[in-house]
């Protein structure tokens, strides 16, 4: 083993291996970008109504945590999965992955109609989500993966403030536009009354001045 390691630092071995490792280190973030771009480009648009709070993430700066109206209540399992979900051993547990089927309510906002244990066919609109906790009555509370909106440091607070006030006021519509593709969702933007949040906050700041 040691002799292998000593060989690693020889020039004709080190350079190709280092090159490969460095390439992978670049390709992984590149793929993450590619995946997001693909979702934004080809994904189906859904509007999710929200209510937010604002913690601080040391790694990624200020962001607004979004809490979704669509997951306020537990979501039932699909009739097909009911038997499986009732069985204690096969029932999804906390942090297990399931598929949430997206439909639209009468006002045009997205909601989750049911959960499926197996991956749905590709013509359905669905998100791959983790279970927060399972209920006894064949339903489960889920964790939405796109739960943070990254905001400039000096604007996160006012965004949160606006969203909190506006989302309580039934006349204002606060929602995130999410592109969904192959079970993955990417936030396109956060809107108050059809105006992107940054524009909205900036125009409000100007008015205040």
């Amino acid at each position: 083993m040691i002799s292998y390691l000593n060989k690693l630092w020889k020039k004709n071995i080190w350079l190709p291996i280092a090159g490969l490792v460095f390439l992978i280190q670049l390709l992984v973030p590149a793929y993450m970008i590619f995946e997001q771009q693909q979702t934004l480009k080809y994904g189906e648009l859904h509007k999710f109504k929200i209510r937010p709070i604002d913690p601080y993430d040391p790694f990624r700066g200020r962001y607004v945590v979004l809490s979704f109206e669509a997951v306020t209540n537990a979501i039932p399992y699909s009739p097909h999965d009911k038997i499986a979900a009732e069985d204690v051993k096969s029932a999804p547990k906390r942090n297990d992955w399931v598929y949430a089927i997206i439909t639209t309510d009468e006002k045009g906002y997205a909601k989750f109609s049911e959960l499926k244990i197996d991956r749905p066919k590709s013509d359905e609109n669905f998100l791959r989500v983790q279970i927060r906790y399972s209920n006894i009555h064949n339903s489960a509370s889920i964790i939405i993966p796109f739960d943070r909106y990254y905001a400039p440091e000096n604007k996160a607070y006012s965004i949160e403030d606006q969203v909190r006030r506006r989302s309580r006021n039934s006349q204002d519509n606060v929602y995130v536009a999410v592109r969904v593709r192959n079970g993955k969702g990417t936030i396109e933007d956060l809107y108050i009354n059809e105006v992107p949040i940054l524009e909205f906050v900036e125009s409000n700041q100007k008015k205040a001045n």
């Binding site: 280092a18 460095f22 590149a30 040391p58 962001y63 990417t186 936030i187």
Partner: protein, 453 residues
């Protein structure tokens, strides 16, 4: 004559740089005083060689690495500021820039600074930190989920090769921290990542690369224990069912492994991380067992989940136990008796197995045995320490023994009758050991006197 000198030159004597400076000065002086000729001066100079100052080199290395760590952290924070006015394209470019620069620096270090630990450590640390910066900035630009587990896991996987490519102790330490983080907050089998670091640890051990080796061993050994135990809570495995017993087993295994691997470490506390940590663990966990008897898991036996993750835990349990049994047999003569006894504490794990299999449960009685064990073992340590004049060992033994006595006195769990019996046992054993020890000493002294006569 010249041939002989050349021959000697192969077996050069290593001297410190300041000694070399002094020697050169003196030689010059002697030559001026005409004590030696120019040829003789040259011949003397050939005999000596300045010692390569690896440690100094490394000390600079770790300082530079810390600098690199700070710079890397700074880059992450700059990105965290979130520059909304930069477009997506610019931000994408920015998220790759530091990583590419750090990688270029690593290649430069390899090609042009192949003997500088400082360059290697610094560039490895920078690459490691810029990986995080890069992923974090992309996550921020695209509002990618706040899934910290995936973030840390990606960071760790992309970073581990740096330990090998650039022989970086700093990255080894950082990876240890990430693994412990994953096990603390996510559970699962993330402790297995230590296996990926192990070959490098062996290499560093064989080559004693630098003082960072001891640092990283201390951290990795503690990290491994924490990672394993905390993650076992998540999967409710067998280890979680008998946590203290397993920790005692693991401490004993650490202790034995340290005694085998670092046999030449001159019993230095700092330079034998495994044994020192094992000894602390044996002291601590034996005291806990001696106090509480057997407190079973919150979930009860039915709560133990047996899946493949648990089987890996079990495998670890059995290997540690097998290692201890093997060590007790093989190293009986190499270890001092109190050291051998300390390793033997790991045998408690057999009781846990018997209990779990529901063959025979002696765990209810274990606390009595453990009290006697600590009493005997700590007394032996104290005696040994006095004989060898070792202050640290003596104090360790005294602390162990006195905390046992103090705890028994204030124990409210044991009935007064039980307490009485335990105290009588402790007292008699104490007197017994002392009488025995004095007799032995007297015999020894008499023998010595006879020899002198």
């Amino acid at each position: 004559m010249t041939d002989q000198v050349e021959q000697k030159a192969i077996n050069k004597i290593d001297i410190e740089p300041n000694q070399k400076t002094w020697l050169d000065k003196q030689l010059k002086h002697w030559q001026q005083e005409e004590i030696i000729s120019t040829e003789q001066k040259r011949q003397i100079q050939i005999l000596y060689r300045t010692k390569a100052t690896r440690d100094n080199n490394w000390a600079t290395g770790i300082l530079v690495a810390i600098g690199a760590l700070l710079i890397g952290g700074g880059i992450i924070m700059l990105f965290a500021h979130n520059w909304e006015y930069l477009g997506k394209g610019v931000r994408t470019f920015l998220s790759f820039l530091p990583l590419v620069l750090a990688q270029a620096l690593a290649i430069y270090s390899y090609k042009k600074q192949s003997h500088s630990a400082a360059w290697w450590e610094a560039s490895a640390t920078l690459v490691f930190m810029t990986i995080a910066a890069s992923i974090a900035l992309i996550g921020q630009t695209y509002h990618i989920y706040g899934d910290l587990e995936r973030f840390v896991l990606t960071w760790l996987l992309l970073g581990i090769p740096l330990v090998y490519l650039l022989r970086s102790s700093m990255v080894l330490i950082l990876c240890t921290i990430l693994i412990v983080w994953l096990c603390t907050f996510e559970g699962k089998l993330y402790w297995l990542f230590f296996a990926l670091l192990f070959p490098y640890w062996i290499y560093a051990y064989k080559n004693k690369v630098n003082a960072a080796f001891y640092w990283s061993t201390w951290l990795a050994a503690i990290g491994f224990a924490i990672a394993l135990m905390l993650s076992s809570l998540f999967r409710r495995s067998f280890l979680d069912f008998y946590p203290v017993i397993f920790l005692l087993l693991m401490s004993a295994a650490y202790f034995l492994l340290g005694k085998i691997l670092f046999a030449k470490a001159n019993n230095s506390f700092w330079k034998n991380p495994l044994s020192s940590l094992g000894a602390i663990g044996i002291g601590l966990f034996s005291i806990i067992i001696s106090s509480e008897g057997n407190r079973s898991s919150y979930y009860g036996r039915e709560g133990v989940i047996l899946n493949w993750e648990s089987y890996i835990d079990l495998g670890l349990y059995f290997s540690a136990l097998a290692f201890i049994i093997f060590g007790l047999g093989k190293y009986f003569k190499h270890l001092k008796f109190h050291q051998w006894l300390m390793v033997a504490s790991g045998l408690v794990a057999i009781l846990a197995l018997l209990d779990f299999a529901q063959w025979i449960s002696l765990l209810g009685w274990l606390f009595i045995g453990m009290n006697l064990y600590i009493l005997v073992c700590s007394s032996l340590i104290i005696i040994r320490a006095i004989e060898e004049g070792k202050t640290l060992l003596l104090n360790a033994g005294l602390i162990w023994l006195s905390s046992l006595i103090a705890l028994r006195f204030f124990d409210s769990d044991v009935s007064i009758l039980g307490k009485g019996i335990v105290f009588i046992l402790i007292g008699s054993a104490f007197i017994g050991i002392n009488v025995w020890f004095n007799k032995k000493r007297k015999q020894q002294l008499q023998r010595q006197e006879l020899n002198h006569d």
